[in-house]
Symmetry: D2
Subunit: 372 residues, 4 copies
């Protein structure tokens, strides 16, 4: 603290001391809806970001029963969506899991169906349990199995449900609702017919756009988001394994791939991206930090992450977040099997706006000292 | 109000009523850093945006003397920059003029020079008064006259000063500091040598990139911002007059042009854009509203704008803001001369993230009923 | 013919008749390396393109033995490449199969290896027979099986060979050599070490870039061609079948997909593209014509195509070409199985230059009258 | 020659010697519309390009009287356009001035008007003499003065004429007709009404798009070519002078700028680009060579160029060409004034297709030995 105070006492920083004259001046400025920049400059122009979010891990063994409990407490048609959301203790006022990202766990029973709607916020889902889940996006219906990843982009009509012959399903929702609200750009509409009707064949989106390095010759896609709306787990895991055979991987993330819009190679939605990464047996990555918020779900295996100096042990389906500019490293504690982490984040937002910055930890062999 | 409550009572909105059972459930959820979405859903997914900023007009006749008063109160080398900032009464906590945009009026005397620094936030300046002002960006020094517009993009070393033979200058600063902070991505560095040294000829940027539809054949520019860092008022006004001869203009904005990166046609910086618009003699535009925050400075003439139903009369050098999703229309009250409005805004951010939305006012011939 | 002559006798066409005066004038012009435009205008500005190439079908049963015969006649180290090329009877002077496209059939025996080299021309290969074939491009070695498609883009070091334990292989080469020569832009270099050495794992390119809708997070690819250099037949056929389940397909091409650069969605090389199309059992497409040259190889099944009014019957491995602006339609004569056509073409060149044009045949239910 | 034969006798080149067996084989191949690659390989895969065009200079003092002579010989309504074209002695068969580029000198008298038409070929014009010339492109009418540069892009309706109160005009036409024909993609249409009718104000294109670094806010331009169709000489020369004050320029080209599409920064048309370059008093550039064809017109001053070892002296309005991969350097022989060269070329085609290559002359201080 003393340190920082000293740093601010140099040329190029505000270092004006209060005087009675200045105080009178500040009062006069306030009357005209103005202020003196030097009274706030050092705080609004910090040397580096200080994240407001806390690193948090939500255990699936804690979450699951609470989410299931909601089945008897509320109906989708009253709740809108039967979702328990992850509330970062430092971001309660914006209902965010981390930074400007929302996340929740949703559950539906066989035969349930939520009404179609659309909003300016973008959404994604990562399926956790159950059979028979489906999502319909702009008339494209997709069947969903465990660990499949599905998009409901910005402005698209969408609805979710479980087939009559399915089982109770649980999935993680990820949205940029807090960002959309912060930018005062959220709109919401309920579908005029309550539900979408569609003549399109089931899973037409993955059948059309989900093959490697091939596109329909006659494609007319012109939306700013991915025409591929569902990414299958079996293909994703296979891809990671193939890539793992030929790469050393990242020192900070192991073998890490990015879900893309196959039509352009860009992130699949405008504001949020998603990754799946594989940590080899016993792999312990080095620490780095960067801007942007990341929310992880453990897709396979067990281990721990050190985030901001604190150790978070995780196993399959646990969820945790890494706030901006916070050191983090990951460790697969399994000696004989790989571990996989799904994550979604606002890095596309950060990159588009020129706000992405990254730093490797140099000290201590690249590893944090665990203090928490 | 009653109206909205009714609207939220439909399928597709959250309409769960509290019960003792639910209240117990909510308490349990809170213990696990979670919450029930339906308790916040309608508020975090509003039907449409409700801006938090107030429309405000800052009169130059009020601002100018207060800003000049600072000359005797603080030195640039202590204040960092001698700036009186515009503080929206609803955005005090983030020191913003509107939304996530910062703006202030800066003044420097002949021979003064502020230290070089850089930050993740982007900045722009619109010169208001005085002679001899200059800005140096990454070694490119630019001389600045009244109504010239100059950029200091994200991450560039920059400094400002007034030549010894100049006069006291005033200019408006525009920055995305509040946005950069909200996204937890701000960094600040003081130049290791306090000031930049440069061998580049004065005004090399406009000499190289400031001509119509011509680019250096051998240009190696690879930055995400405009290589043209200064936009001259005489050329801008001439451009508007030429365009005015061949266009009807926009019903909402008159004859409006956008400052661009001449290398790409895109906005000159990643997060913020700027426009100059001309209202013909007696022109009164129709009202529309859209997402994004706009801060206007009257570059020429006088008139008024109706913003959110309230009339704001303006004349040259007055500054006013239009918050997101707020109806606005402009009127040039001069019968014999055109009026010009300079503006800067965060529309590039909104557009990149898919958050731009716009609506024309249909009622009352497209004009607001003035209530304030 | 009389018809066309008449058409040229209108305003907007050259219709100057020779006179003694004009003839004297033309002679004077010729002495100054000039000419009168109106003497050539109608011929250099035709109403529509007249292709110089003939439609040709090369039967595999004819080609194969001739190609194999070369094995005993020349060694790769003397021939450079042991290739029998397809010589369009109307394009002999440029050694082209169609338009500005070169194609040939290459064969190598187990253990043979051709020297590494590079050239400004782009090349592609479609494997026809044999096991153990491989290609090395810029150090990336790829194993090749029947119907795999492999790239050796513009300017890349490349070499081909057959593993010691492989069998005699045959494949089709496609190159834009004639185009590169026509544009006077061809360069050729022999590798300084005769062969490339590489430490990269086998098939690292498909392992890294060959998975659906996933990209390495940390990818640094910055070349103008696809980082995926090999496209597997099993995945391609599977993709077509999946897509066939959800699309009606094109009236002119059935179920048709384009091989893409998975990093960008663009064609995999700058000048040439490639497609695979599936004709359903008994499908007979309608006729259209367009600019650009296409060379087809039958990947599966049998049928015929009508090209410029002439019927060409084909079966697996037969090769045929469709010249520019020539009507063509395809027919799968198999009642119980699909047929597949591989094709490569210069449509990326045509599209980049603004030269793509297309027309559907309106008459006769969209089918040509077969005259040849 | 002996030299090259030797070079071709290495591994990686074709070096098969004829035998009776091979000759029989070649005959058999020919019967099947095939050939042996190794019989043509070294010629179709040259070590480097050998241009087919000759460097030529056309003197204005020779051209001008011949062009004017045509006024009495043909009427525009019979000739289509009254153009004397530049016929490279090595490219007579394609009516090209250099490579695949056409160029001619057109003349029209006051009150003459040529019929509207369109074609797949792109065209440009550089005005040489006279007053009152105009071009109409897609309804946009542009007035043209000396040294103005105007586009009639690929596929646009266009027509030229001279106002009644104008004088006899001469201008240089540049087109990619030979390229369009080589790619078998040319189409030609005469306007159904013979002439375009238009309500658009005169010079609306430059008034809208011709200002530095400003674009209409509401622009809907979606064509692949520049919305700015006319580039004024006064602005161009001013731009060069401004740029000259702050740049050393290119060692090969002096102070050189590229005409761009101001909406994108790209070349203004898909296949052809244009430059204006300024050689300072007494400047003598170094020699380089590159792929692509360039046709120069001297816009100001006098000097000479050395092209392929031959010296070509030029003065204002002279035209000369530089074929691909031919050494060239330029010299302004005026001690007290700058010289300017306008040029147009097919470099956009070369760059889009990956065919651009460039080399500096290392020997002799970077200057050619003049042999011709
Ligand atoms: Fe939703
Ligand atoms: Fe990270
Ligand atoms: Fe600053
Ligand atoms: Fe507006
Ligand atoms: Fe090759
Ligand atoms: Fe076709
Ligand atoms: Fe024309
Ligand atoms: Fe050159």
């Amino acid at each position: 603290m003393a340190d920082i105070a000293k740093e601010d006492d140099i040329l190029g920083r505000a270092r004006v001391r209060d005087t009675p004259e200045l105080e009178a001046y500040y009062e006069d400025l306030a009357k005209q809806e103005t202020g003196a920049l030097w009274t706030v400059a050092n705080s609004i122009e910090p040397w580096q970001p200080t994240p407001t979010s806390a690193p948090v891990l939500w255990r699936w063994e804690d979450l699951r029963p609470q989410v299931l409990r909601a089945i008897d407490l509320v109906r989708p048609e009253d709740a809108g969506r039967r979702v328990v959301y992850l509330r970062n203790p430092k971001r309660k006022e914006v209902s965010a899991a981390c930074g400007w990202l929302f996340s929740g766990i949703q559950t539906m029973k066989a035969g349930e169906r939520a009404g179609a709607h659309r909003h300016a916020a973008s959404a994604l889902r990562f399926i956790m349990e159950g059979t028979g889940a489906y999502t319909v996006v702009e008339g494209h219906k997709m069947s969903l199995g465990a660990k499949d990843f599905v998009l409901t982009p910005n402005g698209t009509w969408h609805e979710h449900g479980i087939e009559e012959d399915g089982s109770t399903c649980l999935w993680q929702d990820g949205l940029d609702i807090p960002l959309t609200n912060a930018l005062e750009a959220n709109f919401y509409e309920v579908h005029p017919d309550d539900y979408q009707t569609t003549n399109l064949p089931l899973d037409d989106s993955p059948a059309t756009y989900g093959s490697p390095a091939l596109m329909p010759e006659l494609d007319k896609w012109d939306q700013p988001y991915s025409p591929l709306l569902k990414f299958r787990w079996d293909q994703t895991y296979e891809a990671l394994q193939a890539y793992a055979r030929v790469t050393d991987g990242s020192p900070y993330d192991g073998v890490i791939m990015r879900y893309i819009n196959p039509k352009t190679g860009a992130d699949p939605m405008l504001t949020m991206g998603a990754n799946m990464q594989l940590l080899r047996a016993s792999e312990h990555t080095k620490a780095h930090r960067h801007t942007g918020n990341i929310i992880y779900q453990v897709a396979k295996g067990e281990g721990y992450s050190v985030i901001g100096g604190k150790r978070f042990d995780w196993k399959e389906k646990d969820i945790f977040c890494v706030p901006p500019w916070t050191w983090h490293e990951h460790c697969n504690t399994q000696g004989g099997d790989d571990a996989c982490l799904f994550s979604f984040h606002d890095l596309p937002t950060m990159r588009k706006l020129g706000f992405y910055a990254e730093q490797a930890l140099e000290d201590n062999g690249g590893h944090q000292v665990v203090t928490g």
